[in-house]
């Protein structure tokens, strides 16, 4: 994460300002503002229907924003046609032209621009080399495997040297192993060419592995835009905490704050977190990752949460443990196989080290929007 900061010039290449998109009465993208930096790998991550693809299509020009401004290199592009924009897209189903060979597919953009034949040839060969498809020039598209098609699609877009490459769930159709391999390859390409990538996915693991920054989207808004590390370790909304990895979410009130810790009162007991970011009387959520959950036979200072061990789930390298609190809510733990595990039915004292309890403000924008939506419908 550290070295990326040196690489990116903090120059903004794409900016969205108060962008809205309505389909009839359906508000798919809500007042979105975002700055995409030159040379970064930015991922739009969210569940289906969160507006991530619509956002991408507004940048590429296939959708027109209902209101707001989209700038590419300081130039407003909302009214420009896709073929007038210096961005290229890798489509979800590749959309490779079936009436052309691999070579002609890759050369398409340059042929349209009437680049001299010799130069086209040179650049296509260069691209084929880059995506490791030398020797496939004459193949028809239906003779290529999924992973190869993927590479052709990337080469076809990259050959135009776009200012931004937009990728719409490009790995969705590949099997798991190939997907992992392509993830690394995409990342390698992006670093080697130093082109800005805007990547859309619903796969959080994919987002965490590849991105410099992730914009987590939900219900048409960006919940959090930050580095993968911060997204995972410091989720700013409840949605982010639960969507990225697993989280135990506790509702709590701050009952006292001192220099060392903030004490929390909860429905099923009490707990503590670090005192920064909270004030006396706050109603908050506390998010704790399953791998950060601890337990002991004896009560731990600052904590008083009792839970009954319900079941163990064995998942290869780790074991999951689920325990229920007195109000019936479940707490998830993940444990390496080392260390002693309690028995099903045992009552344990649950705690965490203060830094692992992440406070999340209760009334975030997203919550508010959701409430509004519910009251409308």
């Amino acid at each position: 994460m550290g070295d990326f900061k040196e690489k990116t010039k903090d120059e903004v290449i794409v900016s969205l300002l108060n962008v809205e998109k309505w389909y009839g009465n359906n508000n798919v993208v809500k007042n979105m503002s975002m700055k995409i930096k030159s040379g970064e790998f930015l991922t739009l991550l969210g569940p289906s229907g969160c507006g991530k693809t619509t956002t991408l299509r507004m940048i590429s020009g296939f959708e027109e924003p209902s209101s707001g401004v989209i700038k590419i290199e300081n130039e407003s592009v909302e009214l420009k046609e896709p073929y007038e924009r210096d961005v290229n897209t890798v489509f979800q189903n590749y959309a490779l032209f079936p009436n052309m060979t691999v070579y002609d597919n890759i050369a398409y953009g340059l042929k349209i621009k009437k680049v001299p034949k010799a130069e086209i040839h040179e650049r296509v060969e260069e691209m084929l080399d880059l995506v490791q498809l030398k020797g496939f020039e004459k193949r028809r598209i239906d003779q290529m495997s999924g992973g190869q098609k993927q590479r052709v699609a990337i080469a076809r877009a990259l050959i135009n040297q776009p200012k931004v490459l937009l990728l719409d769930e490009p790995l969705g159709a590949l099997d798991l192993k190939l997907r992992k391999q392509m993830q690394l390859e995409l990342k390698r390409l992006q670093k080697a060419l130093n082109i800005t990538f805007v990547y859309v996915t619903h796969d959080q693991e994919e987002a965490l592995t590849m991105s410099d920054r992730i914009a987590v989207m939900n219900g048409g808004i960006i919940e959090q835009l930050d580095t993968p590390k911060n997204i995972y370790e410091k989720p700013s909304t409840k949605f982010v905490a639960t969507f990225i990895g697993e989280s135990n979410i506790f509702e709590a009130s701050v009952i006292s704050v001192d220099s060392e810790k903030a004490s929390l009162g909860m429905e099923c007991g009490s707990a503590s977190i670090l005192p920064e970011e909270v004030a006396f009387g706050d109603h908050i959520y506390v998010s704790v990752r399953p791998e950060d959950m601890r337990f002991d036979k004896e009560p731990v200072e600052g904590f008083n949460i009792k839970a009954k061990v319900k079941e163990f789930i064995y998942i290869g390298n780790i074991t999951k443990m689920i325990a229920t609190m007195s109000n019936g809510d479940e707490i998830k733990f993940t444990r390496l196989h080392t260390g002693k595990l309690p028995q099903v039915g045992d009552v344990i004292n649950v705690y965490w080290s203060l830094k692992d309890g992440i406070p999340i403000p209760m009334e975030t924008n997203a919550e508010f929007e959701k409430l509004k939506e519910l009251s409308i419908s």
């Binding site: 590429s60 020009g61 296939f62 046609e81 896709p82 073929y83 961005v87 290229n88 897209t89 489509f91 189903n93 959309a95 490779l96 032209f97 079936p98 009436n99 398409y108 953009g109 349209i112 621009k113 076809r156 877009a157 135009n160």
Partner: protein, 294 residues
């Protein structure tokens, strides 16, 4: 136990095989009795000799085929192909934008399709006769143009290649539009987006992507208009007024007025062979015979 199960299985399998054959019976009878046998008879008859008073003498001869080489019949062939060619080209040029328009109006497409089909369901005799009314020297169009003072003598529009071609185009347009519509509609719209994304404007995208990808529909449309054009003798009869003679008319005349069945049969065989050849080329070009059933 296992053996019994196996026997049961074979029994069921045999029964299903029998039922398969049984199910195919009506269709097979239909194809054999109504298509295959008559075609064989036609081929057989084309090698017979014409007897007096329209009878057939069962003596082998190739006279009918030799007679086709006479210049007057050769010119009929030429003219038939010419008119069929012109009508097909006009049909494709008119039909493609129409098909494209219908396919692009997703919500309206079934209504538009219905409007296209309406004249097709109307009796052809009526629609063709309406052209006579419009095109004749004292007809709608001439009267209108003369009333406006644009012309002072009626233009001869009826009973020539023009009127025949217009009739052909009118009657066969639905056959041209339907296969082209279905292949335009089936085409993945992502290809168009991809082309635009790569910098191609609408016109370049049309000629480089849309047109090549909808070729199968165009081929099917050509087959479905060209073949009926050659044989549509009713249109030539009514709008050609006897001045335009096409193969269809000649065949019709051989079986009716001239009573030369062997020669009519020979002409039919040659026409069928030409059509089969066209179908062969069509499938070689990657055409799907199923598309023609649309």
């Amino acid at each position: 136990m296992k053996i019994i199960a196996n026997k049961e299985y074979l029994k069921i399998k045999r029964r299903s095989k029998l039922s398969e054959i049984f199910m195919c019976m009506p269709l097979s009878v239909w194809v054999v009795c109504l298509i295959l046998l008559p075609l064989c008879y036609l081929l057989f008859m084309s090698f017979m000799t014409k007897g007096p008073m329209g009878t057939i003498k069962y003596v082998f001869s190739v006279d009918s085929y030799v007679r086709m080489l006479e210049p007057e019949y050769f010119s009929v062939f030429k003219k038939s192909l010419y008119i069929a060619f012109i009508s097909t080209v006009v049909n494709i040029v008119l039909g493609y934008p129409m098909a494209y328009f219908i396919a692009s109006k997703v919500k309206m497409s079934s209504t538009l399709m219905l409007m296209l089909m309406l004249p097709f369901w109307t009796c052809a005799l009526v629609t063709i006769y309406s052209f006579v009314i419009m095109f004749s020297n004292a007809g709608l169009i001439n009267n209108f143009l003369m009333a406006l003072g644009i012309i002072d003598k009626p233009i001869d529009m009826l009973y020539n290649n023009f009127s025949v071609s217009v009739g052909m185009v009118y009657e066969l347009l639905p056959f041209a539009v339907m296969p082209m519509y279905s292949s335009i509609e089936k085409m993945d719209k992502n290809f168009i987006e991809a082309s635009k994304d790569l910098g191609a404007g609408p016109i370049k995208t049309f000629f480089k992507i849309t047109l090549p990808l909808t070729k199968p529909g165009i081929y099917a449309a050509i087959i479905l208009t060209f073949i009926p054009c050659i044989g549509y003798y009713m249109i030539t009869d009514m709008l050609g007024g006897g001045t335009t003679l096409l193969i269809g008319n000649v065949i019709y005349n051989q079986f009716t007025a001239a009573r030369d069945w062997p020669f009519g049969a020979a002409l039919s065989c040659i026409l069928s062979a030409a059509i089969i050849l066209m179908m062969f080329i069509y499938t070689k070009l990657g055409g799907d015979l199923d598309n023609l059933g649309a």
